[in-house]
Symmetry: C2
Subunit: 231 residues, 2 copies
């Protein structure tokens, strides 16, 4: 039976733009596990109440309900140990946590402040008030004012990717010769931007852009064929 994934969708049901859901999509594909995605909107808290919280990704694997992208990755690794490893052992898992946290501390906040207005433009009608109110409260200003100087913000954002960039100058993936969950953890952020925003995040010739393309192409183009913008 396919694993069910509650997957954030926009006004168009096939615009799936959650960075954390993309981590889970890529992890499921890496494991070769069938998935049935269930489009979900921010205000549909009742649909995932069984998880005990209100955010996606949430997966249902037979009788198990699991939430939080990091917890889901660990669940899949431990539940399906005979399938391709997401972490490559204990040390790989421990360091993937650092990469995951770097994404949360650096990549997500940097992207958020450039694309948050684009997100609002694409969310479902019933999510628009919720999204604007919750995000403007978090930001302490309007969505429009947040992104107004994104042509300046992009310079600092690209500089903040330097640890990723110099690593990818030496090896094709964070995981080494092949991608693993550390890659998907960071890639989720770029896929979030691609699905929702026409704003150009990476410069031409950036090794990070070449890596992103490899992941867009992975698993028969799972991420690259999804609805989004050319990047």
């Amino acid at each position: 039976m396919a694993i069910k994934l509650y997957d954030l969708a926009g006004a168009e049901e096939d615009r799936r733009f959650s960075p954390n859901c993309w981590r889970t999509r890529m992890a499921l594909a890496h494991k070769g596990l069938a998935v049935e995605t269930i489009p979900w909107r921010f205000v549909e808290k009742a649909a995932i109440a069984a998880s005990g919280q209100g955010a996606v990704p949430v997966i249902v694997d037979e009788d198990k309900t699991v939430f939080d992208s990091w917890t889901i990755a660990n669940y899949l690794e431990d539940r399906y140990p005979d399938r391709p490893s997401l972490f490559g052992g204990a040390a790989g898992r421990a360091l993937a946590r650092f990469v995951n946290n770097w994404t949360h501390a650096v990549v997500y906040p940097g992207l958020f402040r450039m694309i948050v207005k684009d997100i609002w433009d694409h969310v479902d009608a019933k999510d628009r008030d919720y999204f604007r109110q919750s995000r403007e409260q978090r930001l302490g200003t309007t969505l429009e004012r947040t992104v107004a100087d994104r042509d300046a913000k992009i310079v600092a954002f690209r500089a903040s990717l330097q640890p990723l960039r110099i690593t990818l100058e030496a090896q094709p993936f964070l995981g080494g010769a092949a991608s693993n969950y550390a890659d998907y953890s960071v890639f989720g952020g770029f896929q979030w931007a691609r699905c929702i925003s026409p704003f150009k995040i990476l410069g031409d010739g950036d090794p990070v852009a070449a890596w992103r393309q490899r992941l867009l192409d992975a698993f028969d183009g799972l991420a690259g064929k999804s609805k989004g913008y050319t990047c």
Copy 2:
């Protein structure tokens, strides 16, 4: 036969303050390999000319001369595979490179701009002109002006450690339950500061400080017993 390590020393021969040499010291201890350190000063380029470049660490292991801390770690892992692993497998090695690069892109530059004047205060007399000139050229200003606002810089520096901090809230070491080269890679930076500067780098109660203490205590207090400041 003990491996020889050319190890940066200050005016006092037992003040060993190179962050990259500390990475190598910790890696050698992790592998349980005997080391004979050779105190070295910045201007002694001739002593390490056999390495084909002018910076330490340089190790001499029987007939092999190896330089660059990352290259040395990889050399030790491959040359001594039956000793405790520095990386915990291919995925761990690939992700350790990311951590190593994060240290170079974030931790080292952040520390450098706060402690560079303290370094100059401690280098050997014959290194003082070389150090000041080369570093002021790199900085585009004087050592004194660089560190003048370090009470402000420390706030941003501590914030930049957030990926490390939230990882260490979940596990005792970057490597997981035990330390590995990813830990030593970052720790080298903190040991650099400790050896050379009385400036307080980490706040009390910071999980990063508790992790640093575990590494100062490791290998019978190798790093913690070395000449430096209370931190």
